[in-house]
Symmetry: C2
């Protein structure tokens, strides 16, 4: 059916079996006689979808009973604004680590709200090519904000910093559900769905109940996490289709054997691609080796003049989404959970053939 090898950074490839399930049941969801996009969010059919999604998130991340799982609209960018509104009271301060475009935007948002914050570490000095180490956090910070994976720069935190029990607030938009986590280190996790959780239109928010309970009422209803917790994320009509796809994706992860299994495959995929790049003569990686992302592999052609030809040849070989982010150029292969090792090997094979051709 002429499907391509899709390495888009997000929206990105979905597992073909999930797409087919959506397609097959699209005119009649679960014998309701309606499409999933036509059923009421107050129906028992949709309630089982939203509650099932929450249960799967709780189980896969081993959250126990300390966290609430919420579904918010507006993407991670809306979270940049909601975090300080909800988590800081007058006089409170937060620590931020700046590892690239998205961290910078999160920092700009707390800044524009005239709240106290400290940028306690940044890799801007090196074009965000690494994850800072040995960070000294503020004693009085209410939370420490990090971006676990930097889609644009191709870097990733491979272990969490020691924050001395200050809760970590993490933007996990581009590596959520790609490895197991230690939930107790987090105060809040958020992630736009369009990479490892399905399609755009919903942002998963996981918040520790003690933080949730300390939120005030002086926040617009739709911007207050408590509204979502109290109304099972259905104060108003939620983005039903995006939540439905997240449910299918999490089911698919469970069927693959859960996050440990997914992590093993992700590590292996990244190794195959990075090893090839490191041993090639015409390609070079852009992130420092110990900070490399296993979700977004960024690389350059040593000879910039070959860039256009590379894209042309890639397109001819049914490879899409391989261009780097418009703000940095170069190339990027996004190899999220849905991209299996065979697709990565196909890409490596293409890159190898291209190298032989141009040398």
């Amino acid at each position: 059916m002429n499907r391509i090898y899709n390495f888009n950074a997000g929206p990105s490839a979905l597992p073909l079996e999930v797409l087919k399930e959506i397609q097959d049941s699209f005119l009649n969801f679960n014998n309701s006689g309606m499409s999933i996009v036509e059923i009421s969010h107050r129906s028992k059919e949709f309630e089982s979808v939203i509650n099932g999604t929450k249960e799967k998130v709780t189980k896969l991340f081993e959250l126990g009973s300390d966290f609430e799982v919420l579904f918010v609209q507006g993407g991670a960018s809306m979270q940049f604004a909601m975090l300080p509104m909800n988590l800081l009271k007058a006089g409170d301060s937060a620590d931020y680590v700046n590892t690239g475009t998205w961290s910078t935007k999160a920092i700009n948002e707390i800044k524009s709200q005239n709240r106290k914050f400290n940028v306690v570490a940044s890799s801007e000095d090196s074009n965000f090519s690494y994850i800072p180490k040995n960070i000294k956090f503020s004693d009085n910070a209410k939370y420490v904000h990090i971006t676990t994976n930097n889609t644009i720069k191709g870097t990733q935190w491979h272990s969490l910093p020691d924050t001395n029990n200050i809760p970590i607030v993490a933007d996990m938009s581009s590596d959520i559900m790609s490895y197991p986590i230690d939930a107790k280190k987090f105060g809040l996790i958020y992630a736009g769905a369009q990479k490892n959780l399905g399609v755009p239109g919903v942002c998963l928010v996981i918040i520790r109940k003690d933080l949730l309970n300390s939120i005030g009422d002086d926040i617009p209803v739709m911007l207050n996490y408590k509204t979502y917790a109290q109304k099972n994320s259905m104060y108003n009509t939620p983005p039903c289709f995006s939540i439905y796809v997240m449910w299918l994706i999490l089911k698919w992860i469970e069927e693959k054997g859960g996050l440990s299994a997914v992590y093993q495959e992700n590590k292996q995929k990244a190794e195959v691609l990075y090893d090839f790049i490191d041993n090639s003569s015409i390609y070079t990686g852009t992130a420092e080796k110990d900070s490399r992302s296993f979700m977004n592999v960024t690389f350059l052609l040593k000879d910039k003049n070959l860039e256009e030809k590379f894209i042309q040849e890639a397109t001819k070989n049914s490879i899409g989404g391989i261009k780097g982010h418009r703000s940095v150029g170069g190339f990027r292969a996004s190899i999220y959970n849905s991209t299996d090792i065979e697709k990565v090997k196909y890409l490596v094979n293409f890159m190898d053939e291209f190298q032989k051709k141009v040398k």
Copy 2:
């Protein structure tokens, strides 16, 4: 394929031909080799979808060049908060008309922001069963807020109030694109998509350019209409699938002959159903006759003891979504654009058979 007669208030029935188009192209959109849910929002394929949607809104509503068309997440409820933030400066005041649940929520939101406003008319005295007339608006109001159709109470404005050139800000969530409008009376129109514009996850916002240009910068990025206008509603990843469905729905409206044709059919549908109710012995309408909605027809059984039997029989006859809103009870048939006259006649026939059976 066992599809039912779906009278849900939202999410609600979609035209079968639109559902089939989504289904047929779901694995390969427009020969991209990717699903519509997998393509990048920065791709030429998606740009033609989002720009096409804007063009169709502009054309169907005859907006000319005075308005910007935006796509925002969070539903109409998020707009309740964004309106005063964006449209009022310190000291400014707005007028609100209270015609039911959604107007009340919009009023609560401006109140919680500690801004000046006047509720210049309300039908709360009569359980919101009518649209107020002969309203005296404030001379200094920056805008007048109305809810054009009240999904829960089944009332609708059939002509716009004379606001003496104060721009009308209208929540049209449940009757947008069901009749032609006189655009120049509006300053801003907003509508959640899940009734006449497709599926939840996107809120259409149409704003007059002079109002847009007067918005300040002291608003979080994702809550400022200017962000959406400046970035073609793609500051971050938009809810691509919901915009895509809106595009298909607007195309379908165009193919039906535009808003005048749609309006004729909608009037006819409502007449058939209201005429039957008015001439029946066991049913009674809840809204005052001159304020009746032609989108949401609310009615009661005079004998409350028959309610459960009515729902049971309806379900047996493949009729769904006919229960009234949980806050008011009774019954409601939502007959949006997608519900054609044959489906309304099927419902009337069922109600008639039920009446014969129980009398």
